[in-house]
Amino acid sequence: MRIRPVIVILALTTLIVSAGFFLTIANFPINTLPSSITIQDMSGRSVALSVPVNRAVILNSYWNEIASTLGVSDKIVGIDKYTISSIYIPKAVRERPVVGDLFGGVNLETILSLKPDVVIMDFGYGKSGDIIKSLESLGIPVICMYSNNFNDQINAIRLLGKIFGTEARAESLINFLEIRHSVLISTTSRIPANERPTVLLCRVEKDGLLTAYGNSTWGKIVEDVGGINIALRSFPSQSWPKINLETLLVWNPDIIIIVGYDDAALKSQLDLIMKSSVWGNLKAVKDSRVYTVLIGSRTEGAYLDWGPRMLIGEMKLAKMIQPKYFSDLNVDLVSDLLISTYYSK
């Protein structure tokens, strides 16, 4: 061995790197959009966008669901992997190319090959920050979405309507939801403070701990329909506080609502919590006020989710928490109406 590998390696790497940089600088793309309006997205960014968009990649199932209810499912050209399992999204949308997800990351090249006018996605968790930055560096406009309460859902529908040029249908949907929501709110306002039960909306984790819904979209529904969200009151700044059984005993809520993505998940959660020694001593258990709620979009009858179906979730929770005040509420009727009007096609 008489050659000097160091020199060869150095020369090689220097060559590759400098070639890479040279070529990049020489070919640095300059992106301009021909004619566009400025949209304020839900993270407060101003995004230049030519509307209505014809090709959108949407990286969350609930935004895909809303876009579909607005009748623009044919404009969705790419989805995330969780959208596949939603039964509330048209099959055609669920068969669009999957570009990844916000946790594992997305395949930028696939997104680019779909030639989207816009990418719509949540922000603030997972790899969302990096994804937004990468997409923007490629000249693809990104609309950031998020939700912390019912109003955010309304804003999201309105925003998507604007982006897809279906403002009228968006307003109709908003109208449908807001009227019924305001009825809930006004009914609730008549409930005296001493008739408001304490409520724990939670999920039982595999380790036996409970994840409570506090300062979050669902957590706030509890207060909207006349309950006292004990997790929200105890930890006002936390979205999903984790609590143990001792805290549960201290809180001893009047009502416990356990959520799950499907019946099997609900059953295993119930089995787990009912085994604990604390269970029998809880007020909610003694009063038979333990309820289960299907969440998400995986099964028929799941209603607590982001998106239009949240209204049904609100109404169901209302009947659980304040059966007396909401006795005349016909949830199934509203549900059927919502589904038949906005989810049929």
Partner: protein, 342 residues
């Protein structure tokens, strides 16, 4: 046994070049080959003209998506395999790799801390991963040090302790983390170069290059260090100092990569092993450069698979494990415990 032929050595050393260009052509975005050639070599061969309407987007795909990612995979592979080979020499044990010093646990903890408790600012997770992997290493080293000396056994033991400690802290954070963020932590630990761009390259490649240069210059010293502390001292080496230099350098190399791409396993274990078998000598003067070239090629190809097998992304760490672990098992079974031997 004849020494490795010069031509074979050069061939192995230059292998990254064709793989580099091959990788530029791979991806879910279809780019016609003539366009690709035109875009790549326009600068040096102006007659290759591309004037298709798609040229701008092709350029974006090549220069904004593929090139930074390819460079990151290439240098990541170099970092992981070269650090593996170096640490195997320093620890006199062909079965250690860069994660033995608590690096991965440190990087994991740092990233988890940033994801769980800090605002979602770009680069913060990386910075924390880097700082904590470095901290884990320093802790390992100072726990192992006794009267100014850190023996191999105490370093390995200290690495185990620090890893356990950091993993426990990581579990603690996972415990207090909300489910949504928890999955961010889990996915971060899986390792991926899915959304890496020039910024990630800029953060990591210069540091990797610098430490690779240092290790390359020390490759003869690594041979001597692998003979054991007393013998190395008798041969004129300041063992504590040289070993510290190697440890610091490899930590720098690995943590700067881990901090932008997460934890990608098996490269540091499999590649140096394979190289020693292939070149039929443990001589680091040959093993280090060839490990660099094959390590770069391996991670580059694995990442090519990760980004082009499906429309979405596969975690590259899973791919290296799926290839690496059985391959390593095969090496061990086929050649017995000392698989690099004749």
């Amino acid at each position: 046994m004849p020494r490795l032929r010069k031509s074979v050595f050069l061939l192995l050393l230059l292998l990254p070049l064709p793989v580099f260009f091959l990788s530029l052509t791979i991806g879910s975005y279809q780019i016609p080959f003539d366009e690709l050639l035109a875009i790549l070599f326009q600068g040096i061969a102006p007659f290759l003209n591309s004037d298709s309407s798609q040229t701008q987007i092709y350029r974006d795909v090549i220069f904004m998506i593929r090139l930074p990612r390819i460079l990151l995979a290439l240098f990541g592979g170099i970092a992981l395999s070269v650090s593996g080979a170096s640490l195997q020499s320093v620890f006199k044990n062909p079965l250690v790799d860069s994660y033995i010093l608590g690096l991965s646990a440190g990087a994991g903890l740092g990233a988890a801390l940033a994801i769980a408790f800090l605002p979602n600012i770009i680069g913060l997770t990386q910075l924390f991963a880097f700082l904590f992997s470095f901290m884990a290493f320093m802790l390992t080293y100072f726990v192992a040090r006794d009267r100014g000396q850190a023996s191999t056994v105490s370093l390995v033991l200290a690495g185990v302790i620090v890893t356990a400690l950091f993993s426990a802290a990581l579990s603690m954070i996972k415990f207090f983390t909300v489910p949504e963020k928890l999955s961010s932590v889990v996915y971060w630990l899986m390792g991926s170069m899915a959304v890496s761009g020039w910024k990630e390259v800029l953060y990591s490649v210069p540091l990797i290059l610098l430490s690779f240069l240092i290790i390359t210059l020390m490759r003869w010293r690594l041979n001597v260090l692998s003979m054991g502390d007393e013998e190395a001292k008798s041969l004129g080496i300041n063992v504590e100092r040289d070993r510290l230099v190697v440890l610091l350098t490899t930590t720098l190399m690995v943590s700067s990569f881990v901090s932008v791409a997460g934890i990608i396993g098996w490269v540091g274990l499999v590649i140096p092993h394979l190289v020693r078998m292939l070149v039929r000598t443990p001589d680091n003067r040959i093993v280090i450069p060839i490990s660099a070239s094959l390590g770069g090629v391996f991670l580059l190809l694995a990442d090519d698979v990760a980004r082009s097998l499906t429309s979405y992304e596969l975690p590259v760490g899973v791919i290296t494990t799926i290839i690496g672990a059985p391959f390593f098992l095969y090496l061990l079974k086929k050649r017995g415990g000392g698989s690099w031997r004749q």
